[in-house]
Symmetry: D2
Subunit: 364 residues, 4 copies
C-alpha cells in the first residue's frame, strides 16, 4: 500500500510546475549564451524586478538554498565578521557548515518559533560594542532571517520594519532567506509584499526549489552597489550554472501570469483545510502556522494510525508520550489527496472514539 | 539573419537530449526522497557502476564542473597540499579561483596541447622531495588532468597508464576531469574505456552538462574508501541538489541503451566531416583534434566570411594576420546544419579563389 | 598613584622569568638553524617528553594560544567536521573567529564554571548520530577543553578519564588547551600530572605565555602518527617562528630544574593567601577557584575602594548591585605586593565597618 | 672544527641586537597592557611613523614574515581576487600555501633577478580586462613585490614609481615585503627612502626578524582607511602577540638613534668587502647584488674547499659543473670573521693556483 499512501512529507518531493517543463521542451533546441547571459535569464530578471517594484535591482539565479546562503553571506561579510541568525535558522543547523567553510561564524541567538526580533539584534550588537574585548570576538556583520521561517511562521511587516531599522542603524545588511517565500506571500496573515522586501532588506532570495521549480533560487539585491563583482564570486563558489537558461526559463515561467502567487495560494488553501480538519478532530497544533507547514502533536497510537494512510515528516519529541509531526502542502498538492486525507483523519477519529480500529480494514 | 546562422559555438548551448526531457515529464508527479536518495539516482548509480565495470564504486551526482572539481579536490587534499595540473587545465585558469577558495594551490606544469606526461609529474615530485626547503613549499597531493583536454586532445591508454603508475608510486591520487568525456570515449583514436578509467584513476567524473544533460556531472570513486563522508562534504560545498531525482533521471537516461556512447559518436562523426571539409578547402588545423572541437587558423577575411553564415568560438591570436577559431559539435548538432556548413565553406573557398564575394548575396 | 598600584590584573602583563632572559643573553651570538631545527629546541623537546613520560611524543613549539588552537584544530579536523567545546571556551568566544577562519564550526555545549562532562559529550554525539538529517549537520570531529578553564577551575583525573573514555569510544581526538597549565599542575586540588595528560589526551599544549615565557606554547602529540606533516601545516598558518631557538631556549629553561612547577607553585601559594584574606574579610567568592585566578563579588563601594590600591580585571555583572572582579597571580607576583594587598583589604574592611573612609588618606 | 667555521649562512641565525636584549631585561617587571596596547608599542609606532614621514599611518607589529604576508593580503583582497607577484616571490614559493589558505591565488609573473616591472603588471591587467571570459578568471586585486628581493636585488625609485603609477591607475594596492628592508635602505645603490615607500606603496612592512630583532615585522599602512578593523583580522589569524610589549620594545629600539640604519650599513659594508674579495680572487658573481646577499658561482672543488672554513647557503645548480652559493652578512656579522673569510678565500685561491691543497692543513 505504501505507493498509494497520501504524501504530505514536504514541498520539494516532486518535479516542477508543468508550465516549466512545457517551456523547457519548447525551447530545447534553441541556442543561447551560457552562464546566465541568455535571453530567458534576462527576461526572468526583468519580471522579478517588476514584481519587486525595483527596476535597478541586481538579480542572480542560483541553483540551491545552501549554496545561495553561502554565496551571499560570503559576499557581504569581511573575514572577521559573522552573521547573526536565529538559533533555529537553516544556516545555523542544516547546512553542514557551509557558512563556516566560508570562514564565518554563525552568531546564533535564541528564537521563538523560528523568529528573532529587533531588540535581540540591538542588544547583541550593543553588548558586542560595549565589550572591552570586542576586538577578540567575532564582529556581527549582517543579519539573517527566513521568511517564512523553518517552522512555517512569518514575520509581520511591523516586525520586519523594526529589524530593518535596527540593522540599518548599525550598518548591518539584512538578508532574508526566502526558500519558501511563495507560501509566506500567499498566507492570509501576511502583510509583507515583494516590494516591501525590496525596500526593507539588503538582499533576499525568492525560493524556486520548494515553490514549483526543478531547482533555483533568485537572489535580489535592491541596491546593486552592495555586492560588486557578484558574478565571479558565484563562479568561484561553483554556483554558476553553465546552461543558465534552465534557471532563466524556470523563473520566467514562475513570474509570468502571476504563477508564483498562484502556486502559493493553492498550497495555502489546502493547508488551511487540513489545519481546520485537524482542529475539528481534536488534534493540538504545535502552533497555528500561517503557511504551508502544519505541525501538530500526536500520541503513539495516533501516529501509527496516520502512517497507515499518509506520509508525513517527524519533527521532534514533544513529551514522554507525544511527538510533533508535520504535513506540508505545495504546488504539487492535488485536491483529491487533500479530500482523502481529511476523510481518513475524520474516520480515524471516529473509530478511535469508538475504541475500534477499522481504518486498516477499510483501507486494505 | 543572425537567427538563422549555423551554430557551432560550443557543446552546452542547447537544452538536453529529448529522452531526458521526456522522462522528466513522465515522472513529474512522482514523490521521491530528496538529496539523491531517490530511486532514479539509485538506478543511475547502478548503470554507471556497470558501465565502469566497477560494482563497488561510489558514484555521486553533482551539478556542475567547477563545483565538482572544487568538491573532489577539497575532499582529497589536506590543507597544506596542492594539486598538480596542466597549466592549461580548467582548474588552473577558468574556475575563478574555486580551488584556491578551498585553500589549495594549483601546481601548474607546462602542457602541450592540454596534456602533461608521467615524466613531468615524477620530476615535479622528485624536485619537491629533494628540495631541502620542501616543508616550506606546497606539497603535491594529487594530480588533475582532463580527458579530453580543454583543447580537445586525448590521452592514450599508454599515457594514462604511465601517469597512473607514477601517481600511485608517489601516493598521489589521480583525478580525471571528464567534462566532455563522451567525446573522448567516441573518438576514433581513443583506446581508454570507462573500465580503464575506473582501474587507472582514483577519481574521475563523467560529464553530463556538455554531453546531453541539462546539467550534471557523475563523480566515480572506484575505491569508496578514498573519500569517507563524501555526502556532508558535498552538502557543505552547497553542491547537493535538493531534488536529486533530476540528476538521477538524467544519468539514468544517459546510461540507458548506450545513449552516452551514441551522443558521443554522433558528435564525433559530424566533427570528422567538418574537419575533412576544412582540410579539403585548404584551411590549416591548429592541430588535428580527435574529438568534437575543431580548432583551425583563419585570416581576417576568412573570419569575416565565416561569420556571415556560422557562429564559432574565438580561441586566440595565432600571428599578426591570423587567429585560431573553433567549431564544436555536440549531441544537439543536426545533420542538415553540418551539410549546410560544408556547403558554405566550399562555396566560400570557391568564391574567394575567384576573387568574388557572393556568399552574402546567395544567403540573403 | 596609578603607577604604584598593586597589580593583579592578569598573568601575562610582565616579561619573562629571569632565567629565560639570562639564557637569551648568554646564547645571543651563537649560530643556529632556523625554524625549530636548532639544538635548543631539540633540548626543550627532550625535556618536555621526559616531563610527560612520553619519549615518542611529537612536540612543536608555537608562538601563541589562539594560533596554537587554530593550527591544532585545523590539523585534526576534516572540512565537514566541527569541534565540541564548552560555550565558555576560549575558541568559542575570544579568538575572533580563528577556528571558523579554518572552516570549522565550534560546537558549543553548556558549561558549568568552564567545564563540560563526559555525559554531555556522549549525548551530543549520540544525538548527532541518531538525527536522520545528520549528513546535513556539522559532524563532531574532536573535543576541546581547557585545563585550567577560563574560570580557573580544573578537571579532576576522574573527570578527564571519563571524557577521554567517551572521546576514544567515539573516535574523537581529545585536545586540552593548557594556556595556564602551570597553575593547574600546581593546584592543591589537582590530581592530573603531565604524564596523565599524555596518556588521556590526543593533543594538549603546555602554555608558556601565561606561565613565565615571553611567549610560546608547546604542543604535545603523544602519538605522533595523529598529525602527519605537522610542520608544513604550522608554516602554512604563519605559525612557524624563523628563529625557533627563541622558543627552544624558553621551554628549555622552563623545563630545567623543575622551573615550570616552581612557577606554578609560587603563584598558587600567593593566590591561596589572597583567597583566605578575602574570605576572612567577608567577601563572597564567585566560586572557590583552585588556581591562580580569584573571582569574587563586590558592590560598587567596595570596587571603588579596591581601585584605590589595586588593579584587577572586571569579569561580569553579578546582579543589580554587584559585579564579579578578578585578582590573578603569576610567576611575576612578588611577596611584598601580596602582603600589601592583604594589608589594604583588611584595613579597607575595618574602615568600612567603622563607616569611615580612611584608605584614601592613608595611601596618599 | 664545525663549531669554529665562519658562519655566513643567512641573516636570521643569531639572537637579537644587544640593545634589544638590554631593554627587555630592564623592563622585565613592568606591568603593561597586552595585545599591543602598551606604551612601548605606542612609542615604537610613533618612531616608525616619524621615520616614514607619515604621522597618520597605521602601524601594526606582527611576529613573522609569512604571517604578515598572509594577514595583509587577506585584509586587502576580496575572495575572488588574487595577488600579482614575481614568480620568485616569497609568497609564490616558500610560504607553504599560506596565501592559498586564505583563499587567494598567487598570480605569478616572470621575474628577472627577483623583480617585475610596471609594463608586466599593466599587460597582465589589460589582458585580464580584455579577456571575454574574465569573470571566470581570478581577478588581480593587488601587487606584491619584495624590497630587497629574495635575490638581494633592489628596485630603483624610478622603477617603484612606475609600478606605483600603474597600480594606482588600475586601483591595485601595492604591497612591499620588506623582510630585509634594512639592507635595501643601506645599499649604496638604493635611492628609495622610508618616506618614499610610504608615499608610493599602499602597505609595506619593515622587517625585524632578519634585521636585528628576535622576531617581528612592522606593517605600515600610510592611509589607515585602506584596511578597517585590522586588529580583529590580526587576531583571527592568530597573529596577535599577547605580550605585545615584546614587539614594541624591539621596534622602539630599532628605531631609536638610527639603529635600523646602522644595522643595515654595517652588514652592507661587510658584504661589499666580501664581494670585492671574491671578484679579486676570480670568482664569478651570479649577479652584482647591492645588498647583504652575495651569490656567486663555484665548481665542485671550490665548494669543497670553502666548506672547510665557512658555512654558506646552497642556492641552485648553475650548470653541469657549477653551482650558485650564497654568503649573507647581517647585524650579527663581526669584523674579525669577515677578515678571516677574506684571508681564507685569498689563501685558497693562491693554493689552488699552485695546484696545492694546504688549506686543510693550515686550519687544522
Amino acid at each position: 500500500m505504501s505507493d498509494k499512501k497520501l504524501y504530505f512529507v514536504s514541498d520539494y518531493m516532486e518535479g516542477a510546475h508543468p508550465n516549466i517543463l512545457k517551456r523547457l521542451c519548447e525551447t530545447n533546441y534553441e541556442h543561447t549564451e551560457g552562464y546566465g547571459l541568455d535571453r530567458y535569464s534576462a527576461s526572468a530578471v526583468e519580471r522579478i524586478r517588476e514584481a519587486c517594484g525595483c527596476q535597478g535591482a541586481e538579480v542572480k539565479l542560483l541553483v540551491g538554498g545552501t549554496q545561495t546562503n553561502a554565496v551571499v553571506i560570503d559576499a557581504i561579510l569581511r573575514s572577521y565578521q559573522g552573521v547573526i541568525a536565529p538559533d533555529s535558522g537553516h544556516i545555523a543547523i542544516h547546512e553542514a557548515g557551509a557558512i563556516e567553510r566560508g570562514g564565518h561564524k554563525v552568531l546564533a541567538i535564541p528564537s521563538v518559533q523560528g523568529k528573532i526580533n529587533a531588540a535581540q539584534v540591538e542588544n547583541y550588537v550593543r553588548d558586542f560594542q560595549k565589550d572591552e574585548n570586542h576586538d577578540h570576538i567575532v564582529m556581527p556583520g549582517m543579519v539573517y532571517i527566513s521568511q517564512p521561517t523553518e517552522f512555517g511562521t512569518i514575520y509581520s511587516r511591523k516586525e520586519l520594519e523594526e529589524l530593518s531599522e535596527v540593522c540599518h542603524r548599525y550598518h548591518l545588511p539584512l538578508y532574508v532567506d526566502g526558500a519558501r517565500l511563495a507560501y509566506a506571500l500567499a498566507s492570509k496573515e501576511n502583510d509583507i509584499t515583494l516590494p516591501d522586501l525590496a525596500s526593507l532588506c539588503d538582499v533576499f532570495y525568492i525560493g524556486g526549489t520548494k515553490c514549483g521549480a526543478l531547482f533555483g533560487e533568485a537572489v535580489v539585491i535592491p541596491d546593486p552597489g552592495l555586492i560588486p563583482h557578484f558574478f565571479p564570486l558565484i563562479k568561484q563558489h561553483g554556483a554558476l550554472l553553465a546552461k543558465g537558461r534552465i534557471l532563466g526559463i524556470q523563473f520566467d515561467e514562475l513570474f509570468k501570469d502571476d504563477l508564483y502567487r498562484k502556486i502559493g495560494e493553492s498550497a495555502i488553501g489546502y493547508a488551511l483545510r487540513i489545519k481546520e480538519c485537524l482542529k475539528e478532530q481534536g488534534f493540538s497544533l504545535y502552533y497555528d502556522s500561517p503557511t504551508n507547514q502544519i505541525l501538530f502533536i500526536v500520541n503513539e497510537e495516533q501516529m501509527e494510525q496516520i502512517s497507515r494512510f499518509a506520509e508525513y515528516s517527524f519533527m521532534e519529541k514533544y513529551d514522554e508520550n507525544h511527538v510533533v509531526i508535520r504535513f506540508a502542502t505545495s504546488w504539487a498538492t492535488r485536491e483529491e489527496d487533500v479530500e482523502m486525507l481529511i476523510h481518513h483523519l475524520s474516520t480515524m477519529k471516529k473509530n478511535m472514539d469508538q475504541g475500534k480500529d477499522e481504518i486498516g480494514e477499510e483501507m486494505s
